[in-house]
């Protein structure tokens, strides 16, 4: 494994988004890993519709919350095609599910994987390289006040409540850390990202991990 790896360096990560006052982090995380998986396959990097997942993943609660694994299961079972963000823009509120004609461009997933990597963050690094950016559900209560640096304390592995995307890791310094993309806009944290210490399941980063394949 390289000492540092970040999918952003391969130009397969779209811009940081802002979920606004909609509790749709779970949908953003799913759409963002699918965008990257599509780009890793050599296709053009483009933004797909988080609003479509918010409106249509019927077992989740739209802007009131949901589960990335539930959304991946729905995408895989129904083979729903994700359309582009421009076709189905983000409205920051739950709406009616729109359906598009088959002629409209969209992508469906071929499958997904979801595991707990607790005590196995080394394996998780391998999977980051093999599968692409990974969804993680973490405890982000203390992130309300986060400005920068590596989170090592002040969060719990037992109370996960927020879905994010791991795009890379860095082991070149004294403290190895995961590079984690959030959906609270680019003015939050480190240009929209947060760094979390590796190896001790800080914030529950390794407990609920998933990836989608196209």
């Amino acid at each position: 494994l390289p000492t540092r790896f970040d999918w952003r360096d391969k130009n397969v990560v779209t811009r940081v988004r802002n979920q606004g006052s909609c509790g749709g982090c779970w949908a953003f995380s799913v759409v963002e890993v699918i965008e990257s998986a599509y780009a890793i396959k050599g296709k053009p990097l483009q933004t797909f519709s988080a609003q479509e997942v918010i409106d249509c993943s019927y077992k989740d609660g739209g802007c009131n919350g949901g589960s990335p694994v539930s959304a991946l299961k729905w995408l895989n079972q129904t083979k729903t095609r994700l359309v582009t963000e421009s076709m189905y823009p983000f409205k920051a509120k739950t709406g009616m599910c729109h359906h598009f004609p088959m002629s409209t461009f969209g992508i469906s997933i071929k499958g997904y994987q979801a595991y707990s990597f607790r005590h196995k963050e080394e394996e998780m690094m391998h999977k980051l390289l093999e599968w692409g950016p990974l969804i993680a559900v973490v405890d982000a209560v203390s992130w309300q006040d986060y400005l920068g640096g590596i989170i090592q304390h002040h969060c719990s592995p037992e109370e996960s409540n927020h879905a994010v995307v791991i795009t890379g890791y860095d082991r070149t310094g004294d403290i190895p850390y995961w590079i984690v993309r959030n959906s609270w806009g680019s003015t939050w944290g480190i240009d929209g990202f947060v760094h979390i210490k590796m190896k001790r399941n800080v914030c529950g980063i390794a407990d609920s991990v998933a990836a989608g394949f196209v």
Binding site: K120, M124, V137, V141, L147, G149, S160, H162, A163, G185
Partner: protein, 89 residues
Amino acid sequence: QFIAQYNRSRSPGRLGSAHQYKAFQESIQRQHALNSLPSDLLVEKGSATYGINQFSDLAPELFRATYLCSKPSELPKYKPFDSEVKRLH
């Protein structure tokens, strides 16, 4: 500065409501606590810093209700062998 930087222009010169102002004051206290690690915890170089950002006028309960809306799933523990078998199938 906060009102200008984060475009909270509801009431120029003041935070929009008493609730927001109270939440802002509590945020500053909370951030101070987060930045002050107990001496028994190793303060390592590069540790996170906490301070005023776009969420500083939100009460913690409102922040949680609005932004922390995902649930973890009960997932199987990753076992390299299982994954290999699935891939071979």
